[in-house]
Amino acid sequence: MKKKDVPQDDENLFEGKFKVVKYAVDDDGNYGTVGSVGWEPENTVLNQAWEEINKKVEETKKKIKAGELSPLAYHMEKNIMDVGMLSQYMDISKRKVSKHLEPSGFNSLDSKTLEKYAEVFDISVDELKKTE
């Protein structure tokens, strides 16, 4: 890659915070570094990954509304976790987490467990019970 070809396709994914370093050659073939605000294919695949996450969050919201899942499922998806990772953070079995993802399991949780879930997601217990 030539230095002059280092892409500058800004889709604000870096929020204007910084440029990333790319290695590229000058006209004589000598290497150096150039800052880049992004490259279209990179932006595309990063957006693709987020669209997938957002899609899951929206589907989960619908299932919560339909009474199929508890609000815990929303916070899990929003934090890009799965049952395995959440069980590690909670230090409880996957089976228990799965139970808490059901409305009945979630509604019977004691305040201590609710607080621990809230702490994992860095929100309040009130927020834990909502899907916003």
Partner: protein, 332 residues
Amino acid sequence: MKIDFEHRQSAHCETGVISNLMRHHGLDISEPMALGIGSGLFFSHMPFIKVNGLPVTTYRIMPGDIFKKFSKRMDVEMKRQKFSSPEKAMAELDNCLEQGLPVGMLTSVFYLPYLPRAFRFHFNAHNIVVYGKEGDDYLVSDPILEEPVTIDRRMLIRARFAKGMPNTSGRMYYPTHVPQDVDINQALIKGLKYTAKDMGTIPLPIFGGRAIGFLASRVANYEKKYGKEEAKKYIGNIVRMQEEIGTGGAGFRFMFGAFLQEASARLGNPVLHKKSLEITKIGDLWRKFAYDCGRMVKDRADDLTYQDLADQLSDIGKKEILFFQSIHKMKF
């Protein structure tokens, strides 16, 4: 309290931390040299290991191994610790800072609020250096950023004690002995030979240059096997591993080219300079592949099939094997 620490931005976190920590201890090592001496460049495709439902493709050796190989070849002695409790982990960090030692550590990018939101996934192998403390804030040299930043104690604890692959477990490290008279040329030859051997000669299909051809054979079938929408996720993931923050472009191939040029100058070996131009050309092919994958993901590639993408990869694979075999055969 603030240690006099020079932050230099780099493309990749691990090689950047090596370069910055070594320079602090009197050893001027560039990021590409850290990559080369630590044999960071690699390729592997492991369809049976999945992260978020997608098979793992990597353009580098295991996280942490660049630093380990670098230290061994440069006779650098490191103290490495992990902790069971955040209190102990933070106390030990404070203790090091009091002694004037900048400390490298493993963090999860998900809990680093100073990073842009779009990059904060559960990636638990991000290396940063902490070099001071002001009140409740820690001073951070994050190698991928242009300038140093701060993070509060609470978030640093979260980042240091993330769960997943791997658990970060408060892991931290710092050099205890950095030799000033080490034979850098011997170290870089060792690093280069190791990479050339692994990329050029491993007979297994999932590691080294051969794995690129193996990935090609998988990509050729993606659309048939998984359907149009799923297939796009598979190739999107390959491009993320190749180009997202940290590789310096084309999955470390350009940074490796920069290493070969430095090596050529140090050893007075013009062949390595030619090799640098060769890997740059191969890197350009990787970028063409990423560009075409991006078009495919965006449904802007009517002229392109998965077989075309596979053919590109297959060509790159053959070129990389020949390239690394030619270095493997070189005498130094």
